[in-house]
């Protein structure tokens, strides 16, 4: 029998060791070297999915750019659902964060004069995306991880799986986690807690996301009573490889790559994204035009092309072509070497002289744990940052290269605010937290003993959920498809109660972990589907064929999904508008 050996106590507990989590940890460590910080991650930090980001990180540093430009690009990109005070703060803090990362050793690509190089990116008027070849996320994560090793007061719990938040006195006070190596269950208590666990792309069948993106932190906060905001807004990245869903960065288009359909036509010109320039035109690629339009519009264009029969058909479904041949081998090897490696290995294609097969795949969740501009949730002591959080700066559609910046800006805000909170509060001393650990122990023991008497395999339920979401809550949605999806998810939740494990041991029980992740995934899936059903308009990445127009009168609001028995309760709150009154999104002019 596994017993809790008492709580591990820290000042700050951070769940998740990716870009946001590590940035938050460093921020706390720099506020006060006497603060004791725990970073609890189900994988070793350098495995976090930040590592797979490719294209770059946006921030205003060049003379030809301005905060106003970046703010407008982000707000219009969000289809006016972003909170404008948050966007203003984000844009203004971005440059300092990028420079800080450079000071921490990140190997940014450079101009000949030795200053930082920037590239154009989708939906942005001015080129402002800092990049490290096309492995920006990899370099950012390793720079942050290696920098975090400097601080003695950051204590890592590597391969500890968070199962439930600890709560007492109306405050979040830590997390119950399983040490995967031993299977022991412990409470890791903190005076403040920051959730940085990333998104939940694995609820869908085809995704760029790694297997670990199971929305754990979103579900943890959700079950603790915090709302998940704007969950219906799921971003399909326009260029993923068919089948595997492996990401082919937007940077391919930033450098001038183009999308062509079955007939060799640059079809985006038919979708209000402007006029194509000749590939040899020095103005190509034009910002906020054609292939540098926002991701939601590009993914939607693909679906319409598919409906018109203009897409190609392969063993993994329909696709179009991404053409970067005209960029030349030298530029590809200098700025897109990882893309070349990926397409050769996983698509059997050398992009220097062949076309890359691509299609939209789920990539990012704009929605997440409801936080304010200070990264604080409605639960005192609980903060959130990164993809798992929704401030919101991304609204209904995120611009590429804003997300990596978001990790730093809000990771730091969360760290600083959590540190301040921790100085004014203490961990409960009344045995309540210990008893919560015991409840989790009992729950896990029940799962491991297969006491529910069921016969369901995890993979069966999981695959069912993913195909259901892909079919019913994809790029284009409809009352009927969403209803069916919601009903099916409720059934899957019932089936989950009958899950049977082959592995009933404790040490490194990865099947138990998969079962717990599936539990979290089902929560996230329900919040997405029910929020989508409730929003009867089309905005950004949420497109309803039965409500095709944007409806600011009723829906210039964030959705808030609250955990309840059966199905989530959906409420709304207003979007914060400061200097940019709602207008039409215009691209291609």
């Amino acid at each position: 029998m596994i017993r809790s050996m008492g709580l591990f106590k820290h000042d700050i507990v951070i769940i998740g060791g990716g870009g946001a989590g590590l940035r938050a940890a460093i921020a706390v460590a720099e506020v006060d070297p006497n603060l004791d910080i725990a970073v609890v991650s189900k994988v070793y930090p350098m495995r976090s999915h930040t590592v797979a980001a490719e294209g770059g990180m946006a921030g205003v540093v060049k003379e030809n750019d301005s905060f106003e430009n970046h703010i407008y690009d982000t707000i219009s990109g969000s289809d006016w659902l972003a909170d404008q005070d948050a966007v203003e703060a984000f844009v203004k803090e971005a440059p300092g964060e990028l420079i800080q990362l450079e000071h921490w050793g990140c190997p940014w690509s450079r101009r000949p004069d030795g200053k930082i190089a920037v590239r154009p990116f989708g939906g942005m008027k001015i080129a402002r995306t800092w990049y490290a070849a096309d492995k920006t996320g990899f370099h950012v994560l390793h720079a942050l991880f290696q920098t975090s090793l400097k601080y003695d007061n950051i204590r890592r719990y590597d391969e500890w799986f968070a199962v439930e938040l600890l709560e007492d006195d109306g405050r979040c006070q830590g997390v119950v986690a399983i040490e995967q190596r031993s299977g022991e269950i412990h409470g890791i208590a903190g005076k403040a807690v920051i959730v940085c666990t990333g998104g939940g792309g694995q609820v869908f069948q085809f995704t760029t996301n790694a297997s670990i993106k199971t929305g754990d932190g979103m579900a943890l906060a959700y079950r603790a009573g915090v709302a998940l905001k704007d969950m219906e807004f799921v971003q399909y990245h326009p260029t993923g490889l068919p089948g595997t869903g492996i990401l082919i960065t937007e940077a391919t288009r930033g450098e001038g790559g183009v999308l062509v359909n079955k007939n060799g036509r640059r079809y985006l010109q038919d979708y209000d994204l402007g006029e194509p320039l000749e590939l040899t035109d020095p103005e190509h690629p034009q910002t906020r035009t054609m292939e540098l339009g926002p991701r939601d519009r590009l993914s939607q264009a693909f679906v319409r092309e598919e409906q018109d029969g203009n897409t190609l058909l392969g063993p993994h479904g329909t696709y179009v072509h991404l053409d970067i041949r005209h960029l030349g081998e030298k530029l590809i090897d200098a700025r897109l070497p990882f893309v070349r490696e990926l397409t050769i290995n996983y698509a059997g294609v050398d992009p220097v002289n062949e076309l890359i097969p691509v299609r939209p795949v789920v990539h990012y969740m704009m929605g997440g744990i409801d936080t304010d501009i200070e990264a604080a949730t409605s639960m005192p002591g609980l903060y959130a940052a990164g993809e798992c959080a929704c401030v919101s700066i991304n609204g209904a559609n995120r611009l590429g290269s804003n997300s990596l910046t978001e990790l730093l800006v809000f990771g730091k805000r969360a760290g600083r605010n959590a540190a301040e909170f921790s100085l004014k509060h203490d961990i409960s001393d009344n045995g309540v937290l210990e008893s919560q650990v015991k409840v989790v122990e009992d729950r896990i023991a029940t799962l491991l003993n297969n006491e529910n008497g069921g016969e369901e395999r995890i993979a069966g339920i999981r695959d069912d959920m993913r195909t259901t979401m892909e079919a019913g809550a994809g790029i284009y949605r409809h009352e009927q498809s969403l209803r069916e999806t919601c009903d099916r998810l409720v059934q899957l939740r019932d089936r989950y109660a009958g899950v049977k494990l082959d592995d009933t041991s404790r040490k490194h029980n990865t099947e138990l972990r998969a079962a717990l992740e599936l539990d979290f995934l089902l929560e996230v899936a329900q919040s997405v589907a029910f929020s989508a059903l409730a929003r009867k308009e089309s905005r950004g990445s949420h497109q309803r064929t039965d409500y095709p127009a944007r409806n600011d009168d009723e829906y210039l609001k964030h959705s808030l999904a609250y955990h309840a028995d059966g199905e989530p309760r959906i409420e709304y709150k207003d979007v914060v508008i400061t200097g940019w009154p709602p207008a039409d999104r215009v691209y291609g002019s």
Binding site: M46, G96, P107, W108, R110, F138, Q146, N345, K507, H508
Partner: protein
Amino acid sequence: MANTVVLEVFRYDPDTQVARMQDFEVEYQDDWVVLDALNHIKDQIDGSLSHRWSCRMGVCGSCGMVVNGYPKLTCSAFIRDYLPGPIRVEPLANFEVERDLIVDFDMFLEKLQKVTPWLVRDEERPIEDGEHIQTPAQLAQYKQYTFCINCMLCYSACPVVSHEPDFLGPAALALGHRYNLDSRDQGKGLRLDEMLSSDGIWDCTFVGACSDVCPKHVDPAGAIQQAKVSGTMEYFKSFLMPTGSRK
């Protein structure tokens, strides 16, 4: 008629401390990698098989294992290259096995910490002063050594790691070298103390297997030999110019 291949998979039970090989017959698709087969086994045949994986695109470094005797990232090891099989899958060599295909990774993190793997500055540059200037040529000098994904295939291939467990090893030493070569860094002295120690670069006999297996072409063997040359020069410099501090 479905295509099937046999996987011979290493199993280790930490409770009984018993190791064995277990055969699985797996129906596969033409573009599958070994990782797909392992996941299939776990999902459909035996849920107790434990292995690490995440990104499935060769950048997170989680899925390193020994496939038919050679260290590989199983997400980049295509089944078609191993046909007709059987395909033997074992955990990385030279690491303690914790369970099945999962090894103790902490050994590497302890070694990494020793090479001071962060940018060291005498004085921090103020944020208002913007970025350090670093030309493309300066970046090129250390860029290759930044590619390490910490997958540990190199440690699995290195006979010195096998026989000298305290040897810092290819990846840690290559990362130390990466920072030494970074024009912004001022911490060479700190690092060389550890890198020139008895567990450092001098344990390396330039077998070169680490570079052979590295999926990211970091060439840690080259990094270590370069460190030997520059380390030796630093050593002699400190004799000839004893008043100059080692930077």
